[in-house]
Amino acid sequence: MADRVADIWGERTPFGAGEQWPTRVDQYLVDGVAEADVEWVQSACVLCSNGCGMDIAVHDGRMVGVRGRAADRVNHGRLGPKGLYGWQAGNSPDRLTEPLVRRDGRLAPASWDEAMSLVAERSREVLAEQGPLAMGFYNTGQLFLEDYYTLAVLVRAGVGTPHLDANTRMCTATADFALKETFGSDGDPGSMTDIDDCDTIFTIGHNIAETQTVLWTRILDRLHGPDRPRLVVVDPRRTKVAREADVHLPIRGGTNLALLNGLQHELIANGWVDREFVDRHTVGFDALAETVAEYPPERVAEICGVPAADIRAAARVIGTSRRLVSTCLQGVYQSHQATASACQVNNINLLRAMIGRPGCAVFQMNGQPTAQNTRETGANGDLAGMRNWQNPEHVAELARLWNVDPLRIPSWAPPTHVMQMLRYAEEGSIRFLWIVGTNPAVSLPELGRIRSILAQDRLFVVVSDAFRTETTELADVVLPAAMWGEKTGTYTNHDRTVHLSERAVDPPGAARPDMEIFLDYARRLELIDQDGAPLIKWHTPEECFEAFKQMTRGRPCDYSGLSYDRLRGGGGVQWPCTEDAPDGTERLYADHEFNTETGYCEDYGHDLLTGAAHERKDHAAMAPAGRAVLKTAHYLPPHEPPCEEYPFLYTTGRTVHHWHTRTKTGRAPELAAAAPRMWVELSPADAERLDIVEGDLVRVESPRGRIEAPARIRGGRDGVVFAPFHYGYWDLPDDAAESNGGPRHVRAANELTITDWDPVSKQPLVKTAAVSVTKVAARDAASAGGRVREEPGGGAR
């Protein structure tokens, strides 16, 4: 097989509209293992939201490789570089294999009983002293559905605190909220097969080529096949995706909403609106038309810094499309006016009646592979089963299912978002925080602040993870967790495809699956239902899945027709899957009836500018009753514009070879070698002005901190500095990590980012901050410690 680190998307298999995407099976086995010697175990990839079906190769009780599942509806056998190589992290010698407890300031090995007794004891103390609102739980987008659901029931109905969120807040909270605002509930309406059928693709703030490589392979195969779809790309950087575009709009960071309003201005002004559809199936058109009337292309061109003619050209492509797929991701979700902008992407498809039929879809894309499940189980900012926390009947229904008093379930306000939880910890009202499988000491904004909050003596921090991370070093107790391949469970990708992943090997040492850790905790806290029986009734993942299924019956994410047996073999099933639809449902809203009935909807909606929550009476007065809601808002300038002292706009993002804070990908040799070290990216003109050449060491500074890294010169917008957010401190040599005996925090991109979040989705904004740039040392001096390596993908956003 070709070196798929360099050849990221693999060989082209072009196909035309309406044809089946050809199968291409990608496989990787470690050297010295023959295919005949391995046993294949069914699974799916957990290294991006595409969730490609894959099998794990097992030999002698160890994972030795992977292959794509040819029959899987998502990938037709393909795998990306992270999928092919990332699994090796599980075999890494530095896995956490025993619990650690802080003694005399140092983390020391302990037994499970010692560690869990301490966690339970501290929980009981805090609960007795301050009650459930002093307890916080922050988890991830990496667990399985069964882990999440166990955690959700434990926290919501057992501990009884609203303070449960996931790092999906950083990643797809805006997708979740934009879907709720427009369609009444979460759940991406479309199917991956819409790529096969479409004639136009519109993508904004979404570097598909690097974030979802196999999805991009599918798109590339259409772009290189007969009847190539037209492609409109909005991205400040000239990405691989932008290079394939018919129209590329490299807009100024933080101006998405102005551009999207401008595009809708053109759709309406040119009559590219399906009025019959809009009148029959939407509400809010008049207010939307009134707002976007103020965004003619010339004004938008001035705000966004792109030519008016290009805005018109983009609108024409979208406006004359017959089958339109639109997508967005972090360039929208992590930027200024996130939810407001994401809703406009929904609007564009609604104005064009491009939803619910083949080739017509809007994807509020996910980032993490199991993010969808945090949302469905309520292990993040939602209530389980896509229920509405403001609807007492929904809460009562959950209380019946869990056999607890409805008052037990916190529903007086929305579930608390992580930035607010950290604020409560900062002011001292949260005293216990359990962090599960995520690394906030690298991934959250303004890291100096995050470290100082987590390091407080008055806050008891528990971290469960598979490795020591920057965050475990701030913990009081560290619990070793099993990873993917070492436990059984299910997860759901961004087109609602559910996969089963079987346990292939045993976890190392004493590491345990997260669900088992939560069950142990629930037992120790003696959490009971209203009849005195244990609150959580299941012991195995399959029993948990069965309970979850019942909980989703009749809700948008209905799993009631699924089972582990149904998911074995085959190629994934899309929810809703019920007795009436036993093979799942390819597209939501095929009948153009949306989930906006007041008694059924997941959320009553918000004002997009302030996040003011609408209440039941507001929603009933609007009476969408099955129609989609066209939401609108005016553009406002970002909160921290560049200024004299900090003249550059700072934006952070991803690169194709890494995942989050590299706890996994940094331990896969091929991926680590492909992108071994931090860098920052400047435009050629800016670099020349500052006398910086490729490889020079530069310092980037914001009001909150500074970082130092080698420069890369790329053809981005002038005045913009890009930094990948993956790099922290765990793998730095000691001399680079410390100076004068103290830690040097000058590598992680989030040292500089701003503490600010979207008012609706509460997603932190890590794509708009002001920074200064200075040269520290010339290339030779800078690279003395290691070669500055060219990377094939460049950077991603």
């Binding site: 609203p162 306000a413 302030t610 600010d756």
Partner: protein, 162 residues
């Protein structure tokens, strides 16, 4: 005709609201959303005053409120610094709840002042004024609604977790 009283009622209420939003944003700068939205909504309230100014002339209102919508002055800077000091203290929540509650009441005062002005504008058939009233009234209602949302989220933590 006493329409000037209705115009002045709105001008005073919105000016007061703008000032308070800035002060509260600065005092609670450690609450990042209160800081940013406080300033955004203060600019909006100041904009309401500007949009009503032609009608202050039309209906011969005396001196209009001054100093609305100016950048934070020395007082705000002091408050901002103070926020950093009390941001880590357990009383910061109690102060926040009190300030949000008082700001909510000011927003409600502004809201009802718009209702009164709207009624008067209808009676004198001033359609220019009605256009302004309709747009601004809705924004002021939303401002109050944001404060209500924020208060509902904050109150349990301040009152039950102490």
């Amino acid at each position: 005709m006493n329409l000037d009283k209705a115009v002045k009622g709105v001008l005073d209420a919105e000016a007061e609201l703008a000032k308070r939003l800035v002060a509260v944003g600065e005092r609670h700068a450690a609450e990042h959303d209160v800081y940013y939205l406080g300033h955004t909504l203060a600019r909006q309230a100041a904009d309401h005053v500007t949009r009503l100014t032609p009608f202050a002339e039309r209906y011969q209102v005396g001196a209009a409120p001054r100093g609305v919508g100016e950048p934070p002055g020395i007082l705000e800077t002091v408050r901002h610094k103070g926020s950093q000091l009390i941001g880590r203290s357990e009383i910061s929540g109690v102060l926040l709840l009190r300030d949000l509650r008082e700001t909510y009441l000011l927003a409600q005062q502004a809201e009802i002042a718009w209702v009164i002005l709207q009624q008067a504008a209808l009676a004198v058939r001033d359609s220019d004024l009605l256009d302004v009233v309709t747009a601004c009234h809705e924004q002021t209602e939303t401002c109050a609604k944001w404060l209500r949302t924020r208060i509902k989220e904050t109150a349990p933590q301040v009152l039950a977790a102490g």
